[in-house]
Symmetry: D3
Subunit: 116 residues, 6 copies
C-alpha cells in the first residue's frame, strides 16, 4: 500500500516532464507561477504549504492533497498541526470532504513510515 | 461604499440570532464546531484564520471572504501577508477567483480605513 | 425586505419568458426536462422538492434555494422538516453553506409571513 | 467486479478507525454530527438517506454515492425510487454527473446482487 | 437596467487598477497570463472567448459571464451562436446553471441594445 | 498503459447500455439532449467538442475529459490547438486543474498513438 504515494510521485514527474516537452509558453508560465506562489515572501514557505493543503482538501483533489502533505511534512509540520489543518478543511468543506480526509490520513501515515 | 461591510456584519448577526432561535440541535452544534475550529490548538488561531481565508477564496464565497478578512486583520496580519494569501488562492483557484479577489481587496481596504 | 422574494419571482418569470422567446430547441427541452423531474413518479413530487432544496443548498445557489423553498412550503413541508433538510445540507456541504443557510432561513420566514 | 463495493467498505472502516485513533476532538465531533444528521427527526431517516444520495451525486463524490446507496437499499427504497433520485440529480447537476451515474447504477446492481 | 453592465465594467476597471497598485509580482503575472490566454495562438482569439464563456457558465460566475459576453459580442459572434454556447453549458452544468443563463441572456440583450 | 483509454470506453459503453435498459424516461431524454447539444447548429460540432473539453477540464472530470479528447481528435483538432484549449482551462480553473491536465495530455498521447 505504501506504493500508492511513490506511484503518484513517479507519474507526476513523468507527466510534468511530458508537459514541459510540449513547450506551450502559457502552460510553462503557469507552472512557474505555481512554483513561485509557495516560496518565501511576506508569508514564509511553510505557512503557504499549509494553505495549499487546506485549499486541496476543500477542493477535494487527492493528487493535490498528496503533493502538499509531502511538502508539509518536509517543511516540518507535526502530525498534530496537520490534523488541525484537516479539521479546518473538514468544517469548511463538510462531510463530502471525509473520503479525502481518509486519503490524507493514509498518505500522511505512509510518508511518515517511509521517513523512519 | 464602506457600508457594504457593515451591512454584511449586521445581516450576519441578525440571521445568526434567528438561526439560534430556531433551536435545531444539529445546526447549533455545527455552529459551535465551526467556532471551535478556529481557536488555538496545535496550530494557533492566527494561522487558522489565514487558512479560513484561503478556503473561502478558492470556494468563491464573498460573505466568507469578508468574515475571514475582518478576523485576519484583527489577528494582526499585514496587507502584504494577506496579498500573499490572495496570490496562493488565485493560483490554486484560477481566474474564476478574480471577481472574488476584487471583492477581497475592496473589503480589506474598507476595513483598514474604518480602523484608522 | 419581503420584497426580495417577490423581486426574484418577477425576474424569474420575466427572464424565463425571454428565454422561451429565444426559441432554442435544446434549451426549451432542458427546461421541460427540469420541470418533469419534479413531478410525481416512483417518488412523489413532495419528496423531489425536498431533494431539489438539498441539492440547491450544497451547490450554494441562492436563486435555486428560493425557488425550492417556495415549492416545499406549497407542498406542505413544515418548518421543522425544512430545518432538518437545512441540517443535512449543512453537514454535507460544510460551513461554506452557512451564508446560504442564512439566506434560506430568511426566505422561509418571508414566504411564511406572506401566506399568513 | 462485485469486490469494488466490498473493498470500499473495508477501506472505509479501516480508515475511520484510524481517524478515530488520531483522537482529534473537532474531527470526532464532526463525525458524530454527520451520523446524527441522518437519524430520525422531524424527517425520518429513510428520507434523509435519499437526500444524502442526491447531495453526493450533484457534488460528484463516488465514495459518498456508494455509502448512501447501501444505506438507501437497506432503508427499503426500490430501484425505481432510486432511479428517480438519480434523475433529479442528473437534471440539477448536468452531464458532468453522468460518470457518477454510471458508477451509481453499477453500485446499486452490485449491492442488490449481493443481497440475493 | 442597462446600468448593471456598465456598473460592472466601472467596478472591474476601478478594482483592477487598485490590484495593479498593490504591486504583488505573482498577482500581476497571473493577470498577464490570463490576458495572454485569450490572444491568437494555435486557436484564434474568437474561439478562445467562446471557451471562456462556456467555462464561466459551468463554473457559475456572473461577473466572468458578463466579461466574456462583452468580449464575444465584440468578437462578432451572433446571438444564435451564443445561444448554442449557452445550451452546451446548460447541458454540461445542469439546472443549477439556469439562474446564470437568465443573467447571461439579460446581459447579452443589454449589450446588444447599447450597441444599437 | 494504452489500455486505460480502451477500458474507459468499454466501461462507458457497458454502463450506458445498462442505463438505457433501466428505461427511465427522464434519464433517457437527458442522454438524448446531451448527444444533440454537440451536433451542428448555429455553431458547428467541431467547436462544440472543444467547448465540451474546456468545460470538462475546469469541472475536473477525467472521464469527461477522455470522452471529449477522443471526440476532438476525431473532429480533426491538432495537438497545438488542444494544448491551447488546455491552457485556457488551466488559467480559468487554476493549479487544481493540473492533475487533470496530466491526465488529459496522457490521454491525448494514448489516442494519437492508437491511431498511428
Amino acid at each position: 500500500m505504501a506504493d500508492r504515494l511513490a506511484q503518484f510521485e513517479d507519474y507526476r514527474h513523468l507527466m510534468n516532464a511530458r508537459i514541459d516537452q510540449i513547450d506551450h509558453l502559457g502552460i510553462k508560465r503557469f507552472f512557474n507561477l505555481d512554483t513561485k506562489a509557495y516560496e518565501d515572501g511576506a508569508l514564509d514557505a511553510r505557512t503557504k504549504e499549509l494553505m495549499g493543503l487546506v485549499a486541496s482538501l476543500v477542493l477535494r483533489c487527492n493528487d493535490c492533497i498528496d503533493y502538499h502533505i509531502i511538502q508539509c511534512v518536509d517543511a516540518g509540520w507535526s502530525d498534530e498541526e496537520l490534523y488541525d489543518t484537516f479539521n479546518v478543511a473538514l468544517v469548511v468543506g463538510g462531510s463530502i470532504v471525509i473520503p479525502h480526509l481518509r486519503h490524507a490520513v493514509e498518505s500522511l501515515d505512509m510518508y511518515r513510515s517511509r521517513k523512519e
